[in-house]
């Protein structure tokens, strides 16, 4: 074993060259790759958690009976059909034995109320009625049992004379026939909620 000095220099030089040309940059790349692995691992963990959560929610949703989903969509629909609501109110008025003087809608949905204001649009309906007090209470009881929200936001009861008489109602006016004005709100989910 007797190399010459030149050979020694060549061997060490090649080694140093390899170190600088391959090992050092490769170690840098490995470091970058490891950082990426760390990031990807975190992302993978989050993705797994998200998928697990989504799957759990899907399972939970599937446990809700169809009637429940239907009731929910009836209670909080995507939009309120003014005409249907007016028709329903008219039916309730008729069922209660009251007389409908006037009914109308404000047309344009308003901002919602309460904590879920950003989720809800409110539709207002103005109603004028006349009739006996107990029938009016029956009317209130019926609309409170509605499948969708019909919330009374303002109401006026006036014990007025029979000047605005209606056939059959005021004819036997004994002071128990009253005039009622109500504003009723119904609600829908705000459109474009998900977007």
């Amino acid at each position: 074993m007797n190399f010459g000095l030149f050979t020694h220099i060549i061997l060490i030089g090649v080694t140093v060259f390899i170190g600088f040309v391959y090992i050092r940059p490769t170690l840098g790349e490995i470091s970058v790759t490891q950082d990426k692995i760390h990031e990807h691992k975190m992302a993978l963990e989050q993705a797994k958690n998200l998928n697990a959560t989504l799957q759990a929610l899907i399972n939970k949703k599937s446990e809700i009976p169809d009637e429940g989903i239907k009731a929910l969509f009836t209670y909080m629909p995507d939009t309120v059909d003014d005409i249907t609501v007016l028709k329903d109110i008219e039916n309730v008025v008729s069922r209660s034995g009251l007389f409908l003087v006037n009914i109308g809608t404000e047309g344009v949905p308003n901002d919602g109320r309460g904590d879920a204001q950003e989720l809800i649009e409110a539709y207002s309906f103005n109603i004028s009625l006349t009739g006996e007090y107990d029938k009016f209470k029956q009317f209130l009881g019926l609309i409170e049992q509605s499948d969708y929200p019909l919330h009374v936001t303002s109401m006026a009861i006036d014990a007025k004379s029979g000047s605005q008489s209606q056939e059959g109602v005021r004819s036997e006016d004994d002071g128990s026939v009253l005039d009622y004005s109500l504003t009723i709100e119904s609600y829908s989910l705000v459109s474009n909620l998900i977007e």
Binding site: I12, A43, A116, T153, S154
Partner: protein, 259 residues
């Protein structure tokens, strides 16, 4: 023996002859070893780095594949559906939690109104979701009734704020009283039968009149709802005189009474 030139058996010594003994020299090729170590160390390190790089790259590719798989498993449509359902439930829950029953409110008011008090009108409005403001124009026959009514309202937890304001006295009725004209005759003469009028303002918290579906579940057709009449003017007046006797006040009552 002279002349005896026999060679001696002792070898002759030549003084200037160098010993031919070989000197052993041990050379250590340190530089060679260093060169070897550095070179082969470099080669081994290169191989190790290569393998490690391969391994980390494979690991990264494996994780990326898993990530792509998880991403493929994720359904945007299902997630949107779930989010929308949650929002819908939140919105519905909010409305249910803030659903007051005006039917219950009227029942509660009927229970609190003393017999001698008559409503001329009743107005209510929801102020945000927190409370219902009720404004009742009332007539009665005496201050005693007013004071008694105030006491009854004060003793109940239905309303937080109770204000009696715009208290006024019907002079016609006082004249009729002074002249001894009866209520029946007063009505025939067109004289107001009620002496005292005031406005009752109530702030009723939402929680006191929340809608309770069980009330209606038990009576789905509302058949069990008690028939009552709105306490309107002109009906019979009954005053608990014993309760009122100790709280009689003069007609110069302040125009607004806050409880």
């Amino acid at each position: 023996m002279p002349g005896d030139n026999k060679p001696s058996f002792i070898p002759k010594r030549t003084p200037n002859k160098k010993s031919s003994q070989k000197k052993i020299v041990r050379r250590v090729y340190i530089l060679d070893y260093i060169a070897y170590i550095v070179f082969f160390g470099g080669l081994i390190a290169t191989a190790g780095v290569f393998v490690y790089e391969l391994q980390t790259t494979n690991e990264l590719v494996g994780i990326q594949d898993e990530l792509v798989e998880e991403r493929n498993n994720f359904s945007d449509a299902e997630m949107s559906e779930i989010v929308e359902l949650e929002k819908r439930i939140d919105a519905a829950y909010d409305r249910v939690q803030n659903n007051v029953s005006i039917f219950s409110l009227l029942n509660a008011l009927e229970d609190l109104v003393v017999e001698s008090i008559r409503f001329k009108s009743l107005h209510l409005s929801r102020e945000e979701d927190e409370k219902v403001a009720v404004d009742v124009v009332v007539s009665t026959d005496s201050f005693d009734s007013t004071i008694f009514q105030r006491r009854v309202l004060k003793g109940d937890e239905l309303a937080n704020g109770i204000v009696i304001q715009d208290l006024n006295v019907n002079v016609d009725r006082r004249v009729a009283d002074a002249q001894g004209i009866s209520n029946a005759l007063s009505q025939q003469l067109g004289v107001e039968t009620e002496r005292i009028g005031f406005t009752l303002l109530l702030d009723i918290p939402r929680d006191n009149i929340l809608f309770d579906p069980t009330v209606f579940r038990e009576q789905p057709q509302l058949q069990g709802i008690e028939r009552r009449s709105f306490p309107i003017p002109g009906e019979s007046v009954e005053v608990d005189t014993e309760e009122q006797a100790d709280e009689t006040q003069t007609d110069d009552e302040v125009n607004e009474i806050s409880i």
